[in-house]
Symmetry: C2
DNA sequence: TTTAATTAAGACTTTTTTATCTTAAATAAG
DNA sequence: CTTATTTAAGATAAAAAAGTCTTAATTAAA
């Protein structure tokens, strides 16, 4: 969100600067960003004037994608009771409700792009950190 | 869910028996049930023929109540980015979406009673455990 | 070509959560 | 009244998650 709210697709933003602006530990942020780079959402450059930048156009990156990368690809595949093989064949008592809820969540998160969030953050001066 | 699916409101069901049926550690289950007893959803009895039973009628207990008791009363009050004081006055970029999603979740969970789940589990022979 | 700046990767530490164990208290039955 | 059975509560242990640190690799600029 920080990156896209800058609205400069070309340049690299250093993680150090980002961590200081957002008041997040540098090492923590570095680690958090790595899977995004590995999955091709971001591209990184080492050395002076290095940092991270979007590889994939933020218009094409949904919140859903980010959530799946950061939380794990089967984040929306779990049974509410934690049962193995819970599905239409052998459902748990809340399988139906939970499926409905999950599909609403997935639909919603899939409909929001990072570009939309960036624009909103930029134009409405919204905050990404405390204070 | 186990308790209500038994559809015998009067008698106490022992936690030992329940833990064996559901294949959950006895001590773990005991601990999990304690907040429900403390909050007046269940009533317990020690000694021979003791166990737990519903105090509040399961028709009047919603999934929402159970979730709030087990996960904490402010389970649905968090900011998606973890910001303090995120609200209409000083929202984060995803405040609106997140609010919408949370209200759908709360509405859904509030509309489901344990009695409904128990009936469904009983009549459709649904499972509460693996295998 | 050397140096400073920067991310990557993995080891390590700390914190939090989850799970278990022990002891105490209560209760029904003999 | 004593004993066996059962939950309650708190202490302890184990596992998982979160966070930090160190070293390596890369890159641009002097």
């Amino acid at each position: 969100m920080y990156l896209v709210s800058k609205r400069e697709k070309q340049r690299y933003f250093s993680i150090r600067e980002m961590s200081e602006t957002l008041d997040i530990s540098f090492h923590f942020l570095t680690k958090a960003l790595q899977p995004l780079t590995q999955k091709g959402i971001l591209v990184s450059s080492r050395g002076p004037a290095g940092g991270v930048s979007f590889l994939k156009a933020p218009e094409e990156v949904t919140l859903m994608e980010i959530i799946l990368i950061l939380e794990g690809e089967d984040f929306f595949n779990s049974c509410m009771l934690g049962l193995d093989g819970c599905g239409l064949q052998r459902p748990c008592p809340v399988h139906g409700v939970w499926m409905d809820i999950k599909s609403i969540l997935m639909k919603e998160f899939s409909s929001i792009s990072l570009a939309m969030i960036g624009d909103k953050t930029f134009t409405q001066h919204l905050r990404l950190m405390n204070v």
